[in-house]
């Protein structure tokens, strides 16, 4: 009984099967012809370069993603060093693929937040009730007394694709283990507090302040602001005082006795280490040594 049914089924179904087979074959032939006739020449180098990139589409290079950067770099080799997360490794690989010699590039750039004021250190005039974004808080008048310091609403956190930035106690803190150096945070900060710094050492010394007001004003509004006293500048010439603010020349920086003394002499403790194994910044002295200018 079952067998008979199967036989009947086969009898009625085989033409349909044949039609499907015929259709499939004809489409396959059409596609085959199309693939040969309409073939797009892809530079194998582009494919190779794409493979050499980190493929995280962060956009640090200025292109829409890794594949468009690969295409661009194959055409214009001068763009080689643009991939920040790939760094020197990716640059070397791309150079190899393109048969080019590249000069030794500097150390990879990593962001440093030029502020160290946590909630307790800042002076707040009035409670901000607006949109919790730095860019809108910055547009409003004096959300906090310091017109230069970290606002702590986390525009940089939102911009970071690698979870490498967090607001800890009202201050943006970089997690250097996760950071790829793409620079998205530096572009997002409305106060330009985040700078991309060449990390020649594992930890970099920095002046974690951007306050350009005079020492007295800075002192009155922030416990850990640079007062421009010039004690660091007297120790070593890698520091310079511009507009009441100490600046560290990152190109010249190296850790030696002079820089260590400069750091320890800083009355407000604004010279700190930032990096993978950076020690905790020291608390500023309650009564700072009288600054001699």
């Amino acid at each position: 009984m079952i067998l008979a049914n199967m036989y009947e089924l086969w009898n009625s179904a085989w033409p349909a099967g044949l039609i499907m087979l015929g259709l499939g074959t004809s489409f396959a032939i059409v596609l085959l012809i199309a693939s040969i006739k309409l073939k797009v020449e892809v530079d194998p180098k582009v494919e190779q370069i794409h493979m050499a990139l980190p493929k995280i589409d962060c956009g640090a290079c200025g292109f829409a993603g890794c594949s468009s950067y690969a295409k661009a770099v194959a055409e214009k080799p001068s763009l080689i060093g643009m991939c920040a997360p790939g760094g020197a490794k990716a640059a070397a690989k791309i150079a190899e693929i393109l048969n080019l010699q590249i000069s030794e590039s500097g150390p990879a750039k990593k962001p440093i937040v030029h502020c160290r004021a946590t909630t307790g250190d800042k002076t707040i005039y009035a409670e901000y009730q607006g949109i919790p974004m730095c860019i809108s808080a910055n547009a409003l008048v004096n959300v906090q007394a310091c017109k230069f310091g970290c606002l702590g609403y986390g525009d940089c956190v939102a911009a970071c694709k690698f979870d490498a930035l967090h607001i800890i106690d009202g201050l943006a803190v970089v997690n250097y283990e996760k950071c790829t150096g793409c620079g998205a945070c530096a572009k997002a900060c409305p106060r330009n507090l985040i700078e991309m710094v060449p990390f020649a050492h594992e930890n970099m010394m920095t002046v974690a302040c951007k306050n350009k007001e005079n020492g007295k004003t800075t002192r009155s509004i922030c416990k850990v602001g640079c007062i421009g006293c010039g004690l660091c500048f007297k120790q070593t010439n890698i520091f310079a005082i511009e507009e009441n603010l100490a600046r560290l020349d990152y190109e010249k920086y190296e850790l030696n006795d002079q820089t260590k003394t400069a750091m320890n002499k800083c009355p407000t403790g604004v010279i700190v280490f930032r990096g993978l194994t950076a020690p905790e910044p020291r608390q500023p002295a309650q009564k700072p040594a009288a600054a001699t200018v």
Binding site: I135, V141, P190
Partner: protein
């Protein structure tokens, strides 16, 4: 009190926030505080910021020019007091956040309070004896800007331009913003000065028709101006009562209401042959041209339920908000928020050392109760798509769509919804039942867009 003057004209959209003008509407313009120190912002207007023309420790006279710019769209600034330049430094700015300012220490002895020029004008004023060039130069030199709030340099606005001939002049006396009464008091007390200014503006712009638009909640002002006009026999100047609705005093809304014409998005009123001037600006024009006095003082309404002596004060530009509040008897315990401007479009001020500028018409001090519990604590819920913001938007935008696009950093989407056409009147935020700060997001979006398009330093 209420007469039967009813405005016929209006625009689509808008809201009716509580007016609260009775706090200060009956208090005449008084002399403001005698200041010890003023901070004159170098950027008080739309356009290029001024460069200081004085140095530290220079002595300055009242009315002396202390900042100027070569740029066409700009207006010089002047010292309101006799004194000495203390410093040129960054100061809090109510709109720009922080900006360069010239800080002047006033002479303690030699500083008589500046009297308003309103007594010098009578109904028989004739603008015929001033030439167009003379008027233009006087207005530019006096540093006049739109005193209604936007601060567009008046000289640029009214200068004859053969490419964009002007036909209609609208004098904006709407004052639709709640609480503020400075323009109302000016209309009542400086009536002849305003009309003199209107005549001068009419002459310099070459406009055939002049409309003075006043909201119908100010019948006394309408009467006063009608009377003053009737005496001087001007048939081409008409007083038009318009409906009381916020934002009736917006330039584009007023043109729609009075002329039933629309200025296209991104366009300016001269494109359709219209010039709109605020009444305070008109009064300043008269003072600048006739008395040759620069814009150094303005009427500021200090108001709100949390201030001891609300009133309208003729104040030196550069006086700090704190000083002005102190002069008015200080703030009471209930005060929760200090706003430069009115409650709808004003900007909250955190730093009371912020000086008032040419565009600060009012200082409003609100209590927690007025702000509302939900708004005060920032309690927000999700958008329920009720469309109230769309209904009230005077520019026919979709605020909720723009706000969501900005929130998710989709600037191209926001741009396609005409983010830049927003006049930031605040109607959408006011009516939103979910308490979403729609105007805030749109403002943020404008900054983000400027940054992305590199119109602003990164």
């Amino acid at each position: 009190m209420k007469t039967n003057i009813k405005g016929k004209f209006s625009f689509p959209g808008g809201t009716h926030p509580p007016q609260n003008k009775n706090l200060t509407s009956e208090s005449p313009i008084q002399q403001g505080p005698a200041v010890k120190q003023v901070a004159i912002m170098l950027s008080q207007h739309i356009g290029a910021a001024c460069k200081p023309t004085v140095k530290k420790a220079d002595p300055v006279q009242a009315g002396q020019k202390i900042g100027d710019s070569d740029s066409f769209v700009s207006a010089p600034v002047h010292s309101p007091v006799n004194g000495k330049v203390k410093e040129i430094s960054l100061q809090s700015h109510a709109v720009l956040g922080r900006s360069q300012a010239v800080v002047i220490e006033a002479d303690a002895e030699n500083n008589p309070p500046k009297e308003s020029a309103c007594d010098k004008f009578t109904s028989s004023f004739d603008a015929g004896k001033y030439s167009v060039e003379q008027i233009c130069a006087a207005i530019r030199q006096a540093g006049l800007v739109g005193m209604g709030g936007a601060g567009f340099p008046t000289s640029v606005k009214i200068e004859p331009n053969p490419k964009l001939p002007k036909e209609t002049l609208i004098i904006n006396g709407c004052e639709c913003e709640p609480y503020i009464t400075c323009d109302y008091r000016i209309m009542l007390e400086w009536t002849h000065q305003i009309i003199a200014g209107v005549k001068i503006a009419k002459k310099v712009t070459g406009c055939q028709k002049v409309f003075i638009a006043i909201e119908d909640n100010k019948p006394q002002a309408i009467e006063a101006i009608r009377q003053a006009l009737g005496n001087s026999g001007n048939d081409d100047i008409k007083v038009v009562p318009v409906k009381t609705k916020y934002p009736q005093g917006g330039e584009r809304q007023l043109i729609k209401a009075v002329l039933n014409k629309t200025v296209r998005t991104g366009g300016i009123p001269p494109m359709i042959g219209v010039v709109v001037l605020n009444v305070a600006t008109t009064a300043a024009i008269a003072e600048a041209v006739v008395c040759d006095k620069p814009l150094t003082h303005r009427v500021v309404t200090v108001t709100g339920e949390a201030i001891a002596k609300p009133g309208n004060y003729y104040t030196a530009i550069g006086t700090t908000i704190g000083e002005l509040i102190e002069f008015c008897g200080g703030i009471t315990q209930k005060a929760a928020k200090v706003i430069a401007g009115g409650p709808m479009m004003g900007i909250a001020v955190a730093d009371l050392t912020t000086p008032i500028t040419k565009t600060t018409g009012a200082i409003t001090i609100l209590t927690k109760q007025q702000i509302g519990d939900a708004k005060f604590t920032g309690r927000k819920t999700a958008c329920i798509r009720c469309g109230r913001c769309v209904d009230v938007c005077p520019e026919n935008l979709v605020p909720t769509a723009i706000a969501h696009a900005v929130k998710n950093n989709l600037m191209d989407v926001a741009k396609n919804y005409y983010l830049t056409a927003c006049i930031e009147c605040g109607c959408c935020s006011y009516v939103c039942p979910a308490n979403i700060e729609l105007t805030g997001y749109i403002k943020t979006g404008k900054i983000l867009l400027a940054k992305q398009e590199k119109r602003m330093p990164a």
